[in-house]
């Protein structure tokens, strides 16, 4: 179930009640973007979405693992607040300050729905550099 897009890719791992997501990228930020892609692909097929809406999120976090959770939950909160679903993500960092943007569209009546993601958890949470200078960010998302 791996999905690739340029230097980013994501996949899933099994968890009894919920879903494990893995985002990979050449940098930590790209891995976080991939993790966001994995999370939102549970709710809607990314290829079926337009990019009619843009949203900015930001937060402060020193701990990079907690930052992954904060990033995903900030996006989920922004999506639910707007009744929207996102397909593309960009994240940058200056010290402990994280700033990101996401693009997508409001839910349409005819949208094929996946499964609602309630939030990102701290379970199986890890952010690390694997072999080949690839960053990997993973956690379980509650559905």
């Amino acid at each position: 179930m791996d999905q690739e897009s340029g230097t980013r890719s994501f996949s899933y791992f099994a968890h009894d009640a919920d879903i494990g997501i893995i985002g990979r990228g050449a940098t930590l930020e790209r891995a976080f973007e991939s993790a966001a892609g994995a999370t939102f692909a549970v709710m809607a097929e990314p290829e079926s979405l337009r990019e009619s809406e843009e949203v900015a999120v930001s937060f402060s976090e020193d701990d990079v693992e907690l930052a992954l959770v904060q990033w995903l939950n900030a996006l989920l909160g922004a999506a639910r607040e707007r009744g929207a679903v996102f397909r593309r993500f960009v994240l940058s960092r200056e010290g402990s300050r994280w700033s990101g943007r996401a693009w997508g569209e409001p839910w349409r009546g005819d949208s094929e729905r996946g499964t609602e993601v309630k939030g990102a958890t701290l379970t199986m949470l890890s952010v690390r550099q694997t072999g080949g200078a690839v960053w990997e960010a993973r956690c379980v998302i509650d559905v």
Binding site: M1, Y12, F13, A14, H15, D16, A17, D18, I19, G20, M43, A44, L66, V69, Q70, N73, L76, G77, R80, E81, G83, A84, V85, W107, S111, E112, R113, G114, T115, E116, V117, K118, G119, A120, T121, L122, T123, L125, V140, D142, V143
Partner: protein
């Protein structure tokens, strides 16, 4: 799960063997060998982690439907004494705070439903907002939401969603005390503005069911259940508001635990002492979310009644009971012949008070509190009754569902939503959904055998079976 790590202490009870030098309380799992073997090893790891938390009274407990969750296992029960530094854990409640089941009994028989079932299913699907990104007709201001969070199902009744009398049959009589809407973030409230009266997705559902079997005639009579009768079960929780509270406090309590000197065996067990500013902050927000969930199910019950009235003008849909299974509540329990106020976490577990408990509606007091085990859309569900032995076994707690036997990831590989919908239709079960992916993830085969879970629940002395409900129509998110 490797049973070598367990010691069987009774026909349905198992204790986790103590690791050398382990500084933890006991951890106990309920079920038969087959159910326990089917559980992931992570259940064992998670329940022993819970047994390391401060202020735990008695063992950390896993119900027969337990499966790998986050922090606590789903099906985890643990009681903490604030007088002994006992904690409250956001991971021990879950994101879907006060997720639960409202069960409505009707005056309709299955043969009355048969000829209109497809149209009734279509109508319920149209009228019950379900699925990711689907909002309800009700759009509330922030001030109105604050009233929901303070008032719970009582707020909904005051707005015309149902009758005052039915609140007797809702846990906490429709409104939990101690809600602090001001502890709930503006974003959590914004997320909920369009989500009152919505079902959500995942394992949430609205089912029209028929009472297929009665196991306990006296309790069934008290609950107003008879064979062939139509009932409706609504499974959902506190929606976006609860999810946001869960996400915010998970991180803030994880950080607070470090500041407060609590060593967490797993960061997901994010917690703070009940009697600490951080703990009190979470408790106020959690209680607000409980009221949100109670109001949500009250509205959905009303929408269900309205839909049935279109087909059956004389139909009566009365609340049998509304019980949550993701909560932490202060309750008095006997510990060594002394009554103590404990904070009981039930994450994917149902409160199950024994006959005579003052919090049980008078009509059911001799029978015990109704307990609902929600099964998969292809098998069925159980109504059970609380029993006296559950107090000593599990702080009056019981199972809440069939429990997953396989991950969503595996289920997606094994089943296709459309094929499942077709095969269930051939078996007389009508599915209405916006998400074929969701149907595949929730495939009946992805769940444990609900009959065995209910049997183990009874065998372990947690609750006794009253009736089995077979699904006829299922609206999935």
């Amino acid at each position: 799960m490797d049973l070598e790590r367990l010691e069987q202490t009774g026909p349905w009870a198992w204790r986790v063997k103590r690791e050398p030098g382990a500084a933890r309380a006991e951890a106990v799992l309920y079920g038969d060998a087959g159910l326990l073997r089917s559980m992931d090893e992570k259940v064992l790891e998670q329940i022993t982690n819970v047994a390391r938390l401060p202020g735990l009274v008695g063992p950390a407990l896993a119900m027969p439907d337990a499966h790998w969750g986050y922090g606590f296992p789903i099906g985890g029960v643990a009681a903490f004494d604030p007088e002994q530094g006992g904690i409250i854990s956001a991971g021990g409640v879950g994101f879907d705070i006060s997720c639960g089941i409202r069960c409505l009994r009707t005056n309709l028989a299955s043969e009355q439903i048969a000829h209109v079932a497809p149209k009734l299913a279509d109508s319920l699907y149209r009228n019950i907002p379900a699925g990711v990104g689907v909002e309800g007709d009700l759009q509330l201001s922030i001030a109105e939401l604050d009233a929901v969070l303070a008032g719970g199902a009582r707020w909904a009744v005051q707005r015309g969603y149902g009758e005052e009398a039915e609140l007797e049959y809702v846990e906490e009589r429709g409104r939990v005390a101690g809600a602090r809407p001001e502890n709930v973030s503006p974003l959590a409230k914004k997320r909920q503005r369009g989500e009152m009266g919505t079902l959500g997705s995942g394992n949430h559902y609205l089912e029209v069911q028929v009472v297929e079997r009665i196991h306990d005639a006296a309790a069934a009579e008290a609950y107003g259940l008879r064979t062939g009768q139509i009932v409706v079960s609504i499974h959902c929780g506190s929606r976006g508001l609860g999810h946001q509270i869960g996400t915010e406090f998970l991180v803030s309590l994880a950080k607070a635990a470090g500041r407060l000197g609590i060593v967490l065996p797993d960061r997901e067990l994010a917690c703070a002492p009940v009697r600490s500013p951080e703990g009190e902050q979470y408790i106020g927000a959690m209680n607000a979310a409980i009221n949100c969930a109670l109001a949500n199910r009250q509205i959905l019950a009303h929408l269900t009644r309205r839909t049935f009235a279109h087909f059956f003008p004389d139909a009566r849909l009365e609340t049998l009971f509304d019980v949550s299974h993701n909560t932490c509540k202060p309750e008095r329990h006997e510990v060594g012949r002394k009554s103590r106020l404990l904070w009981v976490h039930r994450k994917g577990a149902t409160r199950a008070f024994a006959p005579g408990h003052p919090d049980i509606p008078e009509r059911y007091r001799d029978a015990g509190q109704p307990v609902i085990i929600g099964g998969s859309m292809g098998t069925g569900s159980y109504v059970l009754a609380g029993v006296a032995s559950s107090e000593a076994q599990a702080w009056s707690s019981a199972s809440h569902g069939a429990g997953r036997a396989m991950s969503r990831h595996q289920a997606l590989k094994q089943w296709q939503g459309r094929q499942l919908v077709d095969s269930l239709r051939e078996r007389g079960i009508l599915i209405r959904t916006r998400s074929m992916r969701g149907v595949a993830e929730e495939a009946p085969g992805a769940y444990k055998d609900v009959d065995r879970v209910a049997e183990a629940t009874e065998g372990a002395g947690l609750a006794r079976r009253v009736a089995f409900l077979r699904p006829l129509v299922c609206v999935k998110g």
